[in-house]
């Protein structure tokens, strides 16, 4: 374990190994804390960053994401009991999206699970999970170590991501399929590359030693003249993940371990992640509760909705008709430049297991500091709002 220096209070937010480069590029100086790291909301200009993801190549520092190394002879049974999903298809070189619940079947967090080797896994999560993983480890021969600081990570995402990496000197990634990873190299430095991401576009995540972070970054940005490459921050990511319909634990719903008020936590079914629950796979934490819940009519669900018009949907309530009964609330929203639509995820109460027939948002917005109120009809989208065909192609399109 690395000791925290006694001067830590002078620099309350940690610096990622990529920080020197991001700081150089930063024009707006909009920094925030992401898991205790200093992370950019916007590096230079939000619209540029957004379009880098959707029509060029974006580079984002993922180091602050929580990473855990899980090993030991019971690693697999431990993970099987931890996550709600049937992971029997997971093998070395593969990644899968997983969620996990507490005993009451309420969501604790989500993440990506990498099988690195036999009895050797990496779990990346949104929030700090050491306590939960250690609790879950009771009765298993398994070691859980935090490796957030030991692994530097970079997301390279956008339609040209594969071509950019090839140009930057990465070993061939053409054949790498979605949710697979391979050991690659860039300028002789070992980099693990997974075809994963949080943008809904073609993309890769690069995993390397902190010491190799800057040379790898430089290799990618060295081809900036030939490709449109931009470092991006959390704000652009928020836009594209909403377009892709990805939920964000702790933002779109309260995670179980941080919930104090009864009924404020959410089950996978309630946030639209029922597809990641395999009730018939055998025991996992929360199974009994989820089995019972699945037999009852749904109480509520986080829905993807398109709100008519272009008024910024911030924190709005949802009603079952104009001036009707309040049935829900918006959890996150974004204006989608590529779809020219107002997108949102909304927590909606069901009526006897059924979605209310109509949904209306009451939008309170300001014009020159004066508040106005408007009603807008909402339309439910069962599919991700934006799902470009090129994102799943192997080999990806060449640019």
């Amino acid at each position: 374990m690395t000791m925290i220096e006694k001067t830590h209070f002078r620099q309350p937010l940690g610096r990622s190994p990529f920080h020197p480069r991001i700081a150089l590029l930063s024009q707006s100086e909009e920094w925030t804390s992401w898991n205790g790291y200093m992370a950019p909301r916007v590096v230079a200009k939000l619209s540029t960053e957004y379009f880098a993801v959707r029509s060029g190549c974006s580079v984002m520092d993922l180091t602050p994401m929580e990473k855990y190394r899980i090993s030991g002879s019971d690693a697999r049974p431990f993970l099987d009991r931890l996550v709600t999903r049937d992971i029997s298809g997971l093998a070395a070189g593969r990644v899968t999206y997983v969620i996990w619940c507490n005993d009451e079947g309420k969501l604790i967090d989500d993440g990506t699970l990498f099988q690195l080797g036999q009895n050797d896994y990496r779990l990346c999560s949104q929030h700090h999970q050491l306590d939960w993983l250690r609790t879950s480890a009771i009765g298993f021969d398994v070691q859980v170590e935090v490796e957030t600081q030991q692994v530097a990570a970079l997301a390279v995402q956008g339609p040209t991501a594969c071509s950019v990496l090839a140009e930057a000197g990465f070993d061939d990634l053409q054949a790498l399929q979605p949710f697979r990873f391979q050991q690659s190299a860039c300028s002789g430095l070992p980099v693990m590359v997974s075809r994963t991401g949080y943008t809904g576009d073609l993309g890769y995540e690069l995993w390397m030693k902190p010491n190799d972070a800057l040379p790898v970054w430089d290799a990618i940005f060295a081809v900036q003249g030939r490709y449109d490459i931009h470092a991006i921050g959390l704000s652009a990511l928020e836009m594209v993940r909403i377009e892709a319909g990805f939920v964000m634990p702790g933002f779109d719903f309260n995670t179980a371990e941080s919930t104090i008020r009864a009924g404020y936590d959410r089950s996978p079914y309630e946030v639209g992640l029922g597809w990641a629950v395999s009730l018939d796979k055998g025991q996992f934490t929360g199974r009994r509760a989820l089995l019972a819940e699945s037999a009852r009519p749904a109480k509520r669900r986080l829905m993807k909705i398109v709100v008519e018009g272009n008024k910024p949907v911030g924190a709005s309530f949802i009603y079952d008709r104009r001036n009707g009964r309040q049935v829900g609330e918006i959890k996150c929203a974004a204006w989608s430049p590529i779809l020219k639509a107002n997108l949102a995820l909304a927590d909606i109460e069901f009526d006897n297991g059924r979605l209310p027939r109509e949904l209306w948002a009451r939008i309170d917005y300001q014009r020159e500091l004066k508040w106005h109120s408007a009603w807008a009809r909402c339309h439910v989208s069962e599919k991700p709002f934006y799902q470009p065909g090129h994102r799943g192609l192997t080999p990806p399109n060449r640019y």
Binding site: D80, R81, D103, W132, I138, G139, Q283, T285, G286
Partner: protein, 517 residues
């Protein structure tokens, strides 16, 4: 032909036998799997040097509750509780106290204390009686109560309010969460008497008289006394275990010895039977375990079949044992100074004051053994001559508070401690050491190993307030059913706890039948 079983009971301790008998009586086809070569568990028989026989661990008992006796027709199967035994508290200066029921006598005992004790015995007997609705049924759930739960609470409330009367009720509510030290200090002067009473509040627990919850542990013991006065377990005919085994067999229960359950099988959240350590699989839709809760969940079921928080709570059940056992074969009857020979039929205590007990406990907190431990001594052979060769005796000593984890390790201590204990008792009976033929010493780890009870705990887990009633053994499994469908608990680790009562087994059977039919 493979016979289809309705239920498997793990363990043929007295609770396993009671439970199996009750299930069979309701028409279920029941098999009991016991890893030992005999039944009884911690209350079964044991031999020393072939010629000496002695109750294994439990050497005193109270008559079983009427409803347990009745349901299993135990009297018809030869159940005869032994004759009432007095408790004699040995004093270094020879001014021993003698206690029977509500009466206490002894040199220099003041009338005020004598009558204070009679009142105390009356009051606490009443308090214990008020708990009856709670003790003889499953504890109510704290959330989502059903009719039975509400009925239990209503009956409990009624008993406390109407059964006790207003003044008594206030007193009950005042003392129930107190410690026995403060309560006794309020009403009794005599240190000897206070030590004698307090011994029953702490024996078998990791507690001193000043530990919280010791009024409750005392009340539990007094509750057991409602069935009749304490007697010394003297083996064979009168022994509850033989009667229980006969009753269970008579009801069609199959008792299989030498069968160690290694795994309780679970498929998709429901038990399907058990696997024995030889690999044989026995299928049954119901499995009722009398093994302690930690062993049942962590070893037999396994964490991979349980939720994470539940597993964590199980792993944190407090259940390190606090009692050791010394068995001694004697070539004759020891002479206790100031006592006649009849006194060997009673229960002798070395618990001269509450301070003495508190000190004995203090050491255990630091993983040490006090050189002045609490001793509870019986001579079962004084009741049953067949237990030893003619003229010989067996002596059974419970030693508290003997911490499960001893800083210096038990091995070395186990060599010398028996002689120290014999010397200590020898101060009251000078000829004792001359009579010793042989002895055996059961440390908490050895009890754990031989009786398959994690921690070697008297109650399969502490009966502190946070592990009692609707929290026993833990939230999520406190009504005998468990998070695994079809799996139930029925041993001392469940409500209302250990001792020879059969109540966990009886309550559990009721619950099994309620949920399974």
């Amino acid at each position: 032909m493979t016979e289809t079983l309705d239920a498997i009971v793990v363990g043929a301790g007295h609770n396993g036998l009671v439970c199996a008998g009750c299930l069979a009586r309701a028409g279920l086809n029941v098999t009991v799997l016991e890893s030992a070569a005999q039944c009884g568990g911690m209350a079964g028989p044991r031999s020393l040097d072939r010629d000496y026989h002695i109750p294994s661990l439990a050497h005193t008992a109270f008559p079983l509750a009427e409803h347990v006796r009745h349901d299993l027709e135990l009297d018809r199967h030869g159940y005869v509780p032994g004759p009432p035994a007095a408790t004699i508290s040995l004093q270094p200066d020879g001014r021993h106290l003698r206690l029977t029921g509500h009466e206490v006598s002894g040199a220099d005992l003041h009338d005020a204390d004598r009558s204070a004790y009679a009142r105390f015995a009356d009051d606490y007997g009443g308090f214990a009686r008020a708990l009856t609705p709670l003790m003889t049924t499953r504890p109510p759930r704290l959330k989502d109560m059903d009719f039975t739960d509400k009925k239990t609470l209503a009956r409990l409330g009624w008993r406390i309010r109407m059964g006790l009367g207003k003044a008594s009720m206030y007193e009950f509510l005042r003392v129930v969460a107190m410690n026995i030290y403060d309560v006794l200090d309020e009403i009794i002067e005599d240190e000897r008497l206070k030590g004698l009473i307090a011994a029953d509040a702490v024996i078998g627990h990791n507690a001193g008289p000043r530990s919280p919850g010791t009024v409750l542990t005392y009340l539990m013991r007094r509750f057991n006394e409602l069935g009749g006065p304490m007697y010394v377990v003297a083996g064979n005919g009168s022994q509850v275990i033989d009667a229980l085994a006969a009753a269970a067999s008579g009801l069609g229960v199959s008792l299989q010895y030498g069968s160690t359950v290694e795994k309780i099988l679970v498929e998709n959240g429901r038990t399907t039977g058990v696997r024995l350590n030889g690999g044989a699989v026995l299928k049954a839709p119901l499995v009722v375990s009398s093994a302690d809760p930690r062993t049942t969940f962590l070893d037999h079921v396994g964490a991979s079949q349980l939720d994470a928080m539940f597993t964590q709570r199980v792993s944190q059940i407090r259940g390190a044992g606090g009692i050791a056992k010394l068995h001694v074969a004697l070539s004759g009857a020891p002479d206790f100074k100031g006592l006649d020979n009849e006194a060997l039929a009673d229960r002798l205590l070395i618990a001269p004051s509450m301070q003495y007990l508190e000190r004995a406990y203090n050491h255990s907190k630091y993983a040490e053994l006090s050189d002045k431990p609490l001793l509870e001594i019986t001579f079962p052979s004084a009741h049953n001559g067949a237990l030893a060769p003619a003229g010989h005796h067996v002596m059974s000593v419970n030693i508290g508070i003997a911490p499960y984890e001893l800083g210096s390790g038990w091995d070395a201590v186990a060599q010398t401690l028996p002689y120290e204990i014999i010397a200590t008792i020898g101060q009251y009976a000078p000829n004792l050491s001359l009579l010793v033929v042989s002895h055996e010493f059961l440390t908490p780890p050895r009890i754990e190993q031989e009786y398959r009870v994690r921690g070697g705990h008297w109650h399969h887990g502490e009966t502190t307030i946070h592990q009692s009633f609707m929290m026993r053994p833990l939230y999520g499994a406190a009504q005998y059913d468990t998070p695994v469908d079809g799996l139930f608990l029925c041993g001392a680790g469940t409500h209302p706890g250990g001792g020879i009562t059969g109540l966990p087994g009886h309550n559990a059977a009721k619950r099994v039948l309620e949920l399974a039919t």
